[in-house]
Amino acid sequence: MAKVDLTIRIAGENGEGVLTVGDVLAEALARLGLHIYTFKNLPAEIKGGASMVQVRVGDTLVRSPGDAIDVLMVWNQENYDAYIGEVRPGGVVIYDPGECEADAGHDAQQVGIPLQAITKEVIKVMKSKNVLAFGVLTACIGIPFEIGRRMVEESRWGRRKEFLESNINALQHAYDHIKEQGIDIGVRVPVNAPDSSAQLIMTGNDALCMGALAAGCRFYSGYPITPASDVMETLAKAMPRVGGVLLQTEDEIAAITSCVGASFAGKKVLTATAGPGLSLMVEGIGLATMEELPVVIVDVQRGGPSTGLPTKTEQSDLQLALYGCHGEAPRIVVAPTNAEDCFYTTVKAFNLAEKFQVPVILLSDQHLSQRAQGIPRPDMSNLEVVERKRPSESDSKDPAEFNRYAMTEDYISAMSIPGRDPQHYVATGLEHNEHAHIAYTPEAHLMMTEKRLMKVESAAKEPGFVDRYGSDDAQVGLIGWGSSEGPILEAMDRALAKGHRVAALIFKMLAPLPEAEARAFIDSVSVASVVELNASGQFASYLQSRLCIPLRRFNKYTGLPFKAIDIEEYIEGVINNG
């Protein structure tokens, strides 16, 4: 068992800077060599509404947001009332007595610290309120002042030089206050940290961006949308540094079709969006399928349908990703499981797109995209990067003899690139023959439909997209995909620790389906259940459509990510009640 496993939640009025407190705290803890798992829950309003960030920290890997709050810091009554019920019995609540009234009825150590009043009257710079709050937390959990100060200086707070002095002042004041008042909340994190300089601290979206660039992506076009906008914002800065182009387009349709154009012209391309944008892109994705062009589309899922819950998390765009587009329009769908995996699965998404000349949809989600994680620095020199098949030296240079859509054994044809290869051709979204000419004959449609379907189906053989964990002869087998991996594995580990036989199968590739692995897993367990963050069990239905095995479902659809305890209780329910 972990010696340290602490869940700290900070909540305040949206726009007051609570999120920064959480971000910097998480970074500070990660820099100390600890494992972190953050969780943000934001209102859809710009200002106002309750905003919260949670940091779970442990000395071994932590893989879920945390079951209950150990330390809650709230800045006002609304947040106090909203979250007090989630504090574990005997936990700690730090509240601002000037802004809210504590309810003594709770089994918790409640510490009043007048954050607002101190900032106003002592620090005198309202911008520094969140540094004060940060200092209160770091002081309470035993992080030395010096480390706290370094974080303030090196974090985004440090970048605003004009506030540095008052920020340091606020930090100092926090430490002094805790000491003077003799506040002891009884928790301490270890501070003699291992060397963690090889660690990067990245959110899911950060890792995804860097993965894209590492894979060779040099063209991005996209349209802002929560929670995918920061992919574009991160790349807006990074892309020109590596000589690439980034375009903020007028809508998602322009985003996907610009990608299609750039891919045709030889670039590795990316666009990122959320559900509403993916809905608008399906026609363009079908075009890429038809013209056999590599394109990577990231969908950072949020609560749906329609505009839905823009700042909440859900895994409910799966069916759109699998089936969205008229006609038979196969594509590859992958889903990274954690922030580190966002890097590697994105690299693989590009490799798959290039190898199979097909659109690849990568399903992330609000929770994964925004949570920070400490991850080992990727070794760029060892990264496998795939390039699309091109006409070979021995091929005829005569365009009349070039078959862009040649029916080969592996269904993959050489693709010539404008400006580089003399074998010019006209790509078309109409049905065509091997020579890329428009052809409506039954023969052409049969052949090309099969080429497109079989090519993608063969990608199911790519290794490394499905992982099995836990008992070999499990009573309960949990099947999950994407970002639910962490809570599933944590719940499984707890159940295993209690002596239950539990296993888990986690998919990172959803289409084509690694069917053999799925079947073998289901056959090996007594009860197979698909655990996902949506109402109808979209992955379960999809598995059933392929395997014809009835599967149980465990679904959550509250806009919030799984907690390990959600799944742990489910496992126990199955074990106890069958």
Partner: protein, 301 residues
């Protein structure tokens, strides 16, 4: 862009003819546009491998298939964003977007202002027949309002059987002018020489260039007679540096039964997107070689 170096043999129109015979109806104006484009390519001696023609869906959208060059025939209305992607991916290419009035100004109309304001160096040729040809003759955004158009069309009475088209006609030249277009022109498919000259100059323009290529659809909306009558060249002394005057000129022409052909507006003062990207790169990696991705990771360390 390939320059006409002595060693490269001068290309001819036929060098840009593909093995596919055009599938247009006999007499379709699009034939004239096709040969004007091919002629312009020949005049510049462009290598087929360095040309990309991008098109949407429509009779006009078939054009790339008939040209001996790279082409990409995309979905309805999306030629412009696709063309921007092509050009930005490889600035050395000559990129032409073509399409119909419906493709460009109905379903694709949302992209036009942005293609113009982005000012990527592509040439956009709209083959305007004031009708939806491929879907058999429904009115388009440029079909004249009211009963007039119905007389020349067997198909439009189906969609607009009582009072003709109720919507007011759009004026694409005026639109591109207010969007801030740096090269705005009109030609007529029956004047192939002028058309190829204008297309040539459009290609030369550094930035987004616009060519309204009036191209009748004799099958569904036969405008040959009135257009032949209405077309006149812009006056010799036309001042193509005055945007407002150009807007004024084009706004009420058709109502007045006149079509001027020529370059209504041209400026060299609008830096293209790629020109601006040069400054971006200058700042992003300061003239040295680009950064490695590994180095970018440092920000997360």
């Amino acid at each position: 862009m390939v320059e006409s170096v002595a060693e490269i043999p001068q290309k001819k129109i036929k060098d840009y003819r593909s093995e596919v015979k055009p599938t247009w109806c006999p007499g379709c104006g699009d034939f004239g546009v096709l040969s004007a484009i091919q002629r312009a390519f020949a005049a510049k001696n462009l290598e087929p491998k360095d040309i990309v023609i991008v098109s949407g869906i429509g009779c006009s959208g078939r054009l790339p298939e008939f040209v001996n060059a790279y082409g990409i025939h995309v979905v309805h209305g999306r030629a412009l964003p696709t063309a921007a992607g092509v050009k930005l991916a490889n600035p050395d290419l000559t990129v032409i977007a073509v399409g119909g009035d419906g493709d460009g100004f109905a379903i694709g109309g949302g992209h036009v202002p942005h293609a113009v304001r982005r000012n990527v160096d592509i040439t956009y040729i709209v083959m305007d027949n004031q009708v939806y040809g491929l879907t058999k003759g429904q009115p388009s955004p440029t079909t004249p309002t009211g009963m007039a158009a119905l007389k020349r069309s067997t198909s439009m009475p189906k969609m607009a059987p009582y009072e003709g088209v109720l919507e007011n006609q759009l004026n694409m030249l005026a639109m591109v002018l207010v969007y801030g277009g740096g090269f705005v022109s009109r030609t007529f498919s029956s004047q192939a020489t002028q058309m190829s000259e204008i297309i040539g100059r459009a290609i030369d323009h550094n930035g987004f260039s616009f060519v309204q290529a009036m191209s009748p659809c004799p099958t569904f909306y036969n405008t040959y007679d009135p257009w032949k009558e209405a077309f006149v060249d812009l006056p010799e002394d036309w001042d193509s540096a005055d945007r407002i005057k150009a807007i004024d000129k084009v706004m009420y022409e058709e109502r007045d039964g006149v079509f001027h052909s020529g370059i209504f507006y041209k400026t060299d003062d609008l830096p293209s997107y790629l020109t601006k990207m040069d400054s971006v790169y200058e700042k992003a990696y300061g003239g040295e070689s680009v950064s490695s991705v590994d180095a970018l990771l440092d920000q997360y360390a």
